[in-house]
């Protein structure tokens, strides 16, 4: 088990290096940061001096090696746009995104799974039909449109919720949280729901399909024949056996949410990592882009590791195979 974890972590380092290399070779296509950094009156000589100071005249492989050498020492450089250390900027933004993603993942699970179970068990009830219709909207409408619609309804027409930003945060030292005040929640709920809607419908449809599959299997029929209670069959046997794909998808989705909550964060001006990276791309802020991409690679590796470990917990067969292989 320990060997497995260590092996995965070593793989993580390799993945991060490859991601960094690829991103560095792509950066030359996003444009020149100098024009974004300086004003229009800056002379050619000043531009050239700045380019030299930032090391942008070095060949790409040299820039890459320099960056990796610095990163290995925990030195990620200064943002071109803001002149602040990249590590500090990311640390400042991470809580906003993690809270947003956490809440939307929870929403997706807590609403999506029961909806999936219901539509799987009572395929023909009117509620199932409503759920399925609504889920079509969730799947087919793009995120930014849902966000803007929610803003229009709850922010502009009804005036119940703030339309943008993150407010009412409480500073816990290293972590600024929205969870402790009503105002914080009022800012959080719309973006979280917007982000959750797609995952929610995905999970619901996944659980439904899996339930339909599992309910047809022999062991469910035998469980019925044994006279077990409906509730035990549905949740103890059927639902548990649908969970492996749900966990896989959910794991990948959380990674995707962390990395790519860009659209939701832009629409709601949510000061998280998505907003940071989109602005970095527009500005050609290379230190932020490279650090961010490597960090995202790390997230994905860690989440996949967690998913693998969860499989052991959910599926006893995997544990047996491992044991056999060890002998």
């Amino acid at each position: 088990m320990l060997a497995f974890v260590v092996q995965r972590l070593l793989q993580a380092i390799l993945v991060m290096l490859v991601v960094a290399l690829i991103s560095f070779s792509l950066f030359q296509f996003v444009g020149d940061p100098i024009n974004n950094m300086v004003g229009q009156e800056t002379t050619t000589a000043q531009r050239e001096a700045l380019r030299e100071r930032l090391g942008l005249n070095d060949p790409i492989p040299v820039q890459f090696v320099k960056w990796v050498a610095n990163a290995a020492q925990g030195e990620f450089g200064l943002s071109y746009r803001m002149g602040k250390p990249v590590a500090a900027l990311i640390a400042e933004r991470l809580p906003a995104t993690i809270e947003l993603v956490l809440l939307s993942a929870l929403l997706a699970l807590l609403i999506g799974v029961p909806m999936g179970v219901h539509t799987g068990l009572r395929r023909d009830s009117w509620l199932s039909r409503v759920f399925l219709t609504v889920s079509l909207i969730g799947i087919s409408l793009p995120t930014f449109l849902i966000g803007i619609l929610l803003i229009l309804i709850f922010g502009v027409w009804l005036g119940w919720l703030p339309t943008f930003g993150r407010g009412g945060t409480v500073d816990l030292g290293v972590w600024e949280t929205s969870f402790l005040t009503l105002q914080g929640w009022s800012h959080l709920i719309m973006p979280a729901f917007t982000l959750a809607l797609f995952q929610l419908t995905l999970i619901m449809r996944l659980v439904r399909a899996e339930m339909l599959e599992v309910l047809r299997t022999d062991y469910i029929k035998f469980a019925r024949a044994r006279g077990l209670r409906e509730r035990t069959i549905n949740f103890g046997h059927a639902l548990k056996n649908t969970l492996v794909p749900v966990i896989t998808i959910m794991g990948l989705q959380i990674g995707a949410l962390l990395a790519f909550s860009i659209i939701t964060e832009t629409v709601f001006q949510w000061p998280g990592m998505g907003l940071l990276i989109i602005q970095a791309i527009q500005f050609v802020d290379i230190p932020i882009m490279s650090t961010y991409l490597v960090l995202v690679a790390l997230f994905f590796v860690l989440i996949n590791l967690a998913v693998d470990l969860l499989y052991y917990a959910v599926d006893p067969r995997l544990r047996v195979e491992r044991a056999v292989a060890a002998i």
């Binding site: 444009g31 071109y80 339309t163």
Partner: protein, 532 residues
């Protein structure tokens, strides 16, 4: 559980209490597309950042919304008989936000700091050789040669506190590389507002400076100002409609009518100072799109004139800009020093003349050319270019549109890639609000710091010479005559193709804002904000 509810209730009560406290003080909340780049007045030269610096830092002179100058930290000034020594008398009793008094040493120190090579703002002091302290409240600025635009540049000369900067080891101007800059995250000016808090990409909170030298006569009435960047157009409009902010800019053109329809919102509009124009490659012997031909049609004045007569500027104004622009025939906007009202007539729209001119020039069937455009820099930039394509096709030009983001566009047309363009779009606002700045950067090539954005490398010896004279001519009438001559030659040459000044449009809540001045360089001076 009950305890938790109690806690929630307590938190809610606190939120309500603080809410009502805020309701009593006058808070002005405003938003634009991007955050300020930093608080160091000497690092960046960028719109929203400069506006914020103007609220916080003092300058020798302050520019009013009508572009005229008024005394700020200097009370009187005069040019010495030698024509290069300007003597400024400093206002007495001015203090910085930290309580330190302003004196001549601070001005000398600010000059040394701002004129470092790494400073984006050094252009404002490019002509200044030396700043001398005469006594505690008198300084002398000595220029290299006579500089008629020195006073116009003074609103860009920001005064910082020497003691404060030295205490924090912040002399060096830091951008992108080097140590983190203390001065870029902390502000200590002499301006009417103090920075209370800056949370990057989230908010800048300002409060009036009770010790500001002119606090008694202040023209604003706000107790607190909150600046928020909101990048997404729709979100910014929604925030205004829901009343969460009192003012936002720019208003997307397609939303102007919608906002005007709201009884609580007003949409003041005015011309901006930036002129949008097209430029043409006039230096390569062979056009980029005509390899092997050995020809560059744009070297022929008749071809450039043909392009000028082919552009239907009124159609662009009416259809693409929905009326929110002013077609122009000059490279600078009304209000800029040196603007010539009677020369502002654009080239007449006349495709037949264009075809005839092309035929005379030896291109009866046109020629291929690529139009380079940004798609995220100016109002409807890509749409303007898309509209220009069929206008040029109509006179037989085989045109390809290449629209890309500003990072790539400016790189391609700029000196970084050796002006790798044949036909391009660019916009320019002279930073000193004087014609010389445009002549220097756009229409001349010879000499240091000239032609930085003259991407087609237009160069006429007469204009070059006139520009050098304009740089040092002190007499206003003579200088204006020289500017006229230069403009006339450039216009006859069809050196560039001016398109328009885009209109600026703000969204203002009329239920909370009594009045605010819309400065033609599109930013908010908090001094002018009066709330209801």
């Amino acid at each position: 559980m009950h305890r938790k509810l109690g806690l929630l209730a307590a938190v809610g009560a606190v939120a309500l209490l603080s809410g009502s406290a805020i309701a009593q003080e006058k808070v002005f909340r405003y938003a634009t597309t991007g955050d300020i780049l930093g608080l160091d007045p000497h690092v960046n030269n960028e719109g929203p950042t400069n506006a914020m610096k103007g609220n916080v830092y003092g300058r020798l002179l302050h520019r009013l919304p009508d572009l005229s100058l008024e005394p700020d930290l200097a009370t009187e000034w005069e040019l010495g008989d030698d024509g290069v020594t300007w003597r400024f008398k400093l206002r007495e009793g001015v203090t910085f936000h930290n309580g330190n008094p302003l004196n001549a040493d601070d001005v000398v120190y600010s000059f040394e700091r701002q004129s470092q090579d790494a400073s984006e703002m050094s252009f404002a002091l490019a002509s200044v050789k030396e700043v001398r302290k005469v006594d505690d409240h008198t300084v002398e600025l000595v220029t290299d040669g006579p500089d008629p635009t020195l006073l116009l540049n003074m609103p860009n000369f920001y005064i910082v506190d020497q003691e404060y900067m030295e205490e924090n080891d912040a002399f060096e101007v830091v951008q992108g590389a080097g140590r983190t800059n203390f001065a870029n995250t902390n502000a200590n000016g002499t301006g009417p507002f103090k920075v209370v808090e800056w949370v990057q990409d989230n908010r800048v909170v300002l409060e009036p400076n009770g010790d500001w030298w002119n606090h008694e006569n202040r023209t604003d009435n706000i107790d607190r100002a909150v600046f928020t960047p909101i990048a997404n157009d729709a979100t910014r409009v929604a925030a205004l409609l829901s009343g969460e902010i009192d003012l936002m800019y720019p208003v997307p053109l397609q939303d102007i009518r919608r906002l005007e329809g709201d009884p609580n919102v007003e949409v003041p509009q005015g011309p901006e100072l930036r002129t949008i124009f097209l430029g043409m490659d006039q230096w390569r012997d062979e056009l980029l799109d005509m390899p092997g031909s050995g020809k560059n049609p744009f070297k022929d004045q008749r071809v450039r004139a043909a392009f000028g007569h082919a552009l239907d500027l009124d159609a662009i104004q009416r259809v693409v800009m929905r009326g929110a622009s002013t077609p122009t025939g000059l490279m600078i906007a009304p209000g800029i020093n040196g603007f010539q009202e009677d020369m502002n007539e654009p080239y007449a729209y006349d495709p037949d003349t264009s075809r005839q001119l092309l035929e005379e020039a030896g291109y009866p069937d046109g020629f291929p050319v690529t139009l380079d455009c940004p798609n995220d820099r100016y109002v409807n930039d890509e749409a303007i270019c898309t509209a220009i394509v069929p206008m040029l096709e109509r006179i037989g030009i085989d045109i390809t549109l290449n629209a890309q983001n500003k990072s790539l566009h400016f790189n391609k047309i700029g000196q970084a890639e050796d002006n790798n363009t044949s036909l391009y779009m660019l916009g320019w606002t002279p930073g000193s609000y004087d014609a010389y700045n445009m002549l220097q950067n756009i229409t001349t090539m010879d000499g240091d710091a000239q032609g930085t954005w003259n991407s087609g490398r237009y160069s006429n010896p007469e204009v070059e010479e006139l520009t050098d004279l304009i740089a040092v001519e002190i007499d206003e009438d003579k200088r204006n005559e020289l500017i006229r001559q230069a403009f006339q030659i450039h216009k006859d040459d069809v050196g560039h193709l001016p398109l328009h000044q885009q209109a600026l449009a703000w969204g203002v809540r009329s239920d909370t804002v009594e009045s605010v001045s819309q400065r033609p360089w599109n930013d908010v001076d908090l001094r002018t904000v009066v709330l209801k």
